[in-house]
Amino acid sequence: MLGFAFAVLWLFVRGVDIAEGGELVLGLALGEFLIGLTVGIPIAFLFRRFFSPTPVLVRTPRAVLAALQYATVFLWELLTANVDVAYRVLSPSMPIDPDVIEVPLRVETDLAITTIANSITLTPGTLTMDYDAERNSLYVHAIAADDPSSIVDPIRTWEDLALVMFDE
């Protein structure tokens, strides 16, 4: 079934045109989808071992809602983040006092950790520097860290969103 995901990905890569000239023609997409299937399944077969137990995200419906609102919060944070980074960089006196703070994480499936790390990097003021495995905590380099907690608690909000999303 991750071959199936690859078939969908193949649809994306080929860029089949669905709505060309008004109504959607599914025929072409379906043809492309079958090609994706024949291409995706061998790749899945090749990398069967690769995706270690990607959590079969059994889509209990609450996780779907969590994923949706995670995506919207993420997009919004993305926009605001870069504005004040841009503002912080462009203002003549650079109000930055960078320091490294250490954030212990509550999630421990490594897909969750990765999404947390990436979303942190994209949200304002923090960059994940390092992650050490046995303490399960992130070293975050904050650029405008006046106090650690104001940096830590947006990370917590991301976490309990991710907890719901990956439901463990």
Binding site: W10, L28, G31, I43, F50, T114
Partner: protein, 162 residues
């Protein structure tokens, strides 16, 4: 699951896990749409090689070897250390064979020279869905693809295991 991860954090690993299927699917896409969009065997081969190089960089050769292809590590005689090099050699030899074979086979079809007059693309299409015209220039592209992948991967894995 064996031993690594001393200096690649989980983020890098899962990022690679997420990105590398995209690389491979893109490479295959570039191969398949070689004919009427920018693509072809070279770029597909080089891109797949880059994808594998990324995997070697993140996961290391041995991890790829024994978990991906569970080949035992001991190289047969006369092969440098990663035993993968042995079947990269067969891969690029196979690629050469496919490329040359595509040429020679076309020689018999239209009894012309060693190449492919406009490909008699056997489009076997079950008519309601797709029509997939399978060019025999594609056979040549496939040969080029296999050669480039085998060659570059042999180079990277041998030099990498160095």
């Amino acid at each position: 699951m064996s031993r690594y991860g001393d200096d690649t954090t989980v983020i890098a690993r899962t990022a690679t896990r997420i990105v590398s299927p995209i690389i491979f699917v893109t490479a295959i896409a570039l191969l398949l749409q070689g004919h009427n969009l920018p693509g072809g065997g070279f770029i597909a081969g080089v891109l797949t090689a880059a994808g594998f190089a990324l995997i070697y960089v993140i996961f290391g050769v041995d991890y790829v070897q024994d978990t991906l292809l569970h080949r035992d590590v001991e190289p047969a005689f006369g092969i440098p250390r990663p035993a993968l090099a042995a079947d990269y050699r067969t891969m690029f030899a196979l690629g050469l064979l496919v490329a040359a074979g595509a040429g020679v086979v076309a020689m018999f079809f239209a009894d012309t020279g060693f190449a492919f007059l406009g490909q008699h693309d056997w489009l076997y299409d079950v008519k309601p869905l797709f029509k997939f015209h399978f060019a025999s220039a594609f056979a040549f592209d496939l040969g080029v693809y296999l050669v480039v992948v085998g060659g570059l991967l042999a180079i990277v894995s041998v030099v990498g295991a160095e």
